[in-house]
Symmetry: C2
Subunit: 247 residues, 2 copies
Amino acid sequence: MPSAPNQHATAMLIRKLESIATLSDEQRQAILSLPVRLHTLAARQDIVRDGDKPSHCCLILDGWAYRYKLLGDGRRQIFSFHIPGDVPDLQSLHVPTMDHSLATLTKATVAFIPHESLQDLTLRHPGLGTLFWRDTLIDAAIFRAWMVGLGRRSAFEQVAHLFCELYLKLQAVGLAVHYRCPLPLTQIDIADALGMTNVHVNRVLKEMRGQALITLRSQTLVIEAWDELLRVAEFDPTYLHLEHRAA
Amino acid sequence: MPSAPNQHATAMLIRKLESIATLSDEQRQAILSLPVRLHTLAARQDIVRDGDKPSHCCLILDGWAYRYKLLGDGRRQIFSFHIPGDVPDLQSLHVPTMDHSLATLTKATVAFIPHESLQDLTLRHPGLGTLFWRDTLIDAAIFRAWMVGLGRRSAFEQVAHLFCELYLKLQAVGLAVHYRCPLPLTQIDIADALGMTNVHVNRVLKEMRGQALITLRSQTLVIEAWDELLRVAEFDPTYLHLEHRAA
DNA sequence: CGACACATTGACCAGACTCAAAGCTAGTGG
DNA sequence: CCACTAGCTTTGAGTCTGGTCAATGTGTCG
């Protein structure tokens, strides 16, 4: 029988899945019964590395994580930021070899779920299989949104777009309200996500503060002018495919 | 009973799936029985548009397609190029609203397969469901590879990387041999895929010819120095997750 | 044959990068 | 509890990759 920490962990997963779909009682029960192994990790620690062949997936319960790839000379590209409820390496369920790394951004609590259990779950509950698939498809949709930024947006537009996206993702799982949210990213992280240098990110942020669009202090982002931020980012939340929209 | 054109269409899908996994006879039979509707399309025609809610997926039988998104002022980001055997809008099966467009690049023959039939297929054959899921995960892996290029590679490295990728994808389904392959892209297409201008793409190509890395004439790419191209691109084919590797 | 889209080249420009030097700030250990 | 430190932020000065604008050449298709 699942223990209390198990229930806490899987309840977090349920909350996340309910941000992108509706679950039946039976499905909720099945998820609650998943076996998990809890771990507490320090900040900036690799969870899974480029080249690994993991045998379990990682559910984030507390803290942030990110996925990235390093080039030979140290250049880094960040692909995504992840918050509680996310399973950032869900793709490892069906693509055995990692082509990038997953690491914590902050101190974090994570739950490891064996591939075997997830595979079993999706076979017994095809609806959940579809839903996990859907989650990886939304992951891909976010990659495409970032590609538009990397390829075709100005630095200013791109930073604005990232802030809109992160705020909505946090809001969808109850981690943000009143245009205020945690943002435990350094300017170096933002730079490596958006294909810029930290120096340039700093200048863009200065400009955004100057235009009274945002406040960003001590790991907290406050969006001072949501509508205006949406406008300059040309932000359309469709790609997040959130069930309970809030934009 | 499926007609001959149906068999041709679904056989193309089988060849593609076998480039990323192994199929059982039963699975092959199930795919061969899929109902399809054939269409011939002119070059540069939208197949599905940003915002649509399609009720079928599109299997490419002949010709090339690409996915893209337009920004308000006409800036375009291309996300992917697709070749025969690909189902570029497979994600529409579980994410109803398109967040980008799909269009032909050349004159093309495509087969439309009802979502209903695909959903039914994946329920009856969970192994195929997993395989289609896997295909969308590889799609996402390719997005990540492009993100590294867009964010962190020089223009030269990026073009080299794209050519390596396209050659291997074509080779995997038997459409390229001897470092020679079709490449029906304009320099504008390449620019919009890699986040550059067509002028700069032209200069990069000139430089690549100068270094005797490639020849590119009349829609045909010849890679004159494969090893050297791999090296400058820092290309690692792992992310394509091909079953029968050929790098 | 003519038109139109694409490729190529040159001249000039700018957004973003590099390098460098100070300030901050949040942990750490004494 | 505070001083130290390492990493992060901020700013300035100068540079460069890649963009803009524009003209001309080339190829392909009706």
